[in-house]
């Protein structure tokens, strides 16, 4: 007979779900179930530090000490036909963001600056439903120009929903990873986006996976979802088995339907980070947008010691981040080595 979670006590003195997680996730590498993740999300604040410490142990055991550093750039900004309620780049909302294209020299420069930080990953992003011929051509020419610049950084793309033909084209261009976020739990998705479905996104992710590209898929927390939906989202991501999960915290954007939402509290953000780590012990978990506002410098350090093992440095797509050097200094202070490019090839 299996003991009820509240009756379990670990050798480390933990009780309840933390003791269960130590045995199940840390020792055996089996991610938490939806019900277990929910239990973690409901832990009292007095157990937050123990939770973060366990999540860090799990990360070190199953992923190791290295941190993958990435830079991102928007090659096509604004004017998007979709209505993702969090996004300032939707052409359907009265936001101050105007449409812009980044030219090839600008893209090459952005990739070079990213590589100079020690980052091994550079993601080319476009605000589109899916890429058209012009965008695919721009990406192809951009990747060629980055290589001709002598830059061997790994290149990822995020260009919306794809056809099989476009997946194959990206593979042929040498794109090794594709980002396409599910954004939120399946049950919450219709509250966030109405112009396409969660299932359409899932289909693109399956095509990417089947083609052998690494899958990068995460989302945004703080969009009105419940704890139950956060737990649901964690296990839906785990089911996808992505190589990487970027975690964003909502920055309410002027002119969007979410303009007046409150940002989530730092301790809640940390609890979510740790819970996602315990749901996905082997997955790269990346700090992405919104951490500056939600967690600040101290909270970012706590997150790095609470399950995170990858980070976007520098600016984001339309928002600014903190200087890349500040994050590199933080990693140095935490004695966390930056993943080398040779490790990724």
């Amino acid at each position: 007979m299996t003991a009820a979670p509240h009756q379990v006590e670990s050798a480390a003195g933990e009780q309840g779900i933390l003791a269960v997680a130590r045995e199940q996730v840390l020792e055996r590498g089996v991610g938490l179930s939806r019900e277990q993740v929910l239990e973690v999300l409901r832990l009292p604040s007095g157990q937050l530090q123990d939770l973060l410490a366990l999540a860090h142990e799990v990360r070190m055991r199953w992923c190791g000490p290295e941190v993958e550093v990435e830079g991102i750039v928007s090659v096509k900004t604004g004017g998007c036909p979709e209505d993702c309620h969090f996004c300032s780049q939707s052409g359907l909302f009265p936001t101050p963001v105007r449409a812009a294209w980044l030219d090839i020299p600008g893209l090459v420069k952005a990739a070079r600056e990213t590589a100079e930080t020690g980052a091994t990953e550079f993601c080319i992003v476009a605000a589109v439903r899916g890429p058209d011929t012009r965008l695919m051509s721009q990406v192809r020419d951009g990747i060629k120009a980055i290589r001709e610049d002598g830059n061997d950084i790994e290149i990822a793309c995020s260009l919306g929903m794809l056809t099989q033909e476009q997946v194959d084209e990206l593979v042929a261009m040498g794109v090794h990873r594709y980002n396409h976020n599910l954004e939120t739990a399946r049950s919450n998705f219709p509250n966030v986006v109405t112009t396409h479905s969660w299932e359409e996104r899932w289909d693109t992710l399956q095509m990417v996976k089947d083609a052998g590209m690494e899958v990068c898929c995460g989302g945004i927390v703080g969009m009105g979802e419940t704890d139950e939906q956060r737990a649901e989202f964690a296990v839906q991501l785990a089911e996808l088995e992505p190589h990487e999960v970027p975690m964003n915290f909502l920055i309410p954007q002027q002119g969007t339907p979410y303009e007046h939402l409150e940002t989530i509290e730092g301790p809640d953000a940390l609890r979510i980070v740790a819970a996602f780590r315990l749901a996905m012990p082997r997955t790269m978990l990346r700090f992405a947008g919104g951490r500056e506002l939600t967690l600040g410098d101290l909270g970012a350090e706590q997150g790095m010691l609470g399950g995170i093992n990858a980070i976007i440095v520098g600016n984001y797509l339309t928002n600014l981040g903190r200087p890349a050097q500040a994050d590199l200094d933080m990693l140095n202070d935490l004695t966390m080595p930056i993943k080398a490019l040779s490790d990724t090839i």
Binding site: P96, K109, T114, Q254, L293, G314, N315
Partner: protein, 70 residues
């Protein structure tokens, strides 16, 4: 350059409530409106900076604004 308009909301610096523009999250925003004419600018954010172009008053970059440089 005389700053007449708020770069975050495009309203006059002296004749509007800018409490939201002064909120912490505005430090994560590049300028969106021209400080001289309030036109909405075309802004390109890159990993290490930003460029904002007004159709009348030209281009400003994060290098021109050390306080906002990233």
């Amino acid at each position: 350059m005389t700053v007449m308009y708020c770069v975050h909301c495009g309203k006059g610096v002296a004749d509007a409530d800018h409490s939201r523009c002064a909120a912490p999250q505005s430090t994560l925003e590049p300028p969106r409106y021209c400080a001289q004419c309030a036109r909405r600018m075309i802004v390109q954010v890159t990993p290490s900076g930003w460029t904002a172009r007004c159709s009348r008053h030209g281009e400003t970059t994060s290098r021109d604004d050390p306080a906002a440089a990233r």
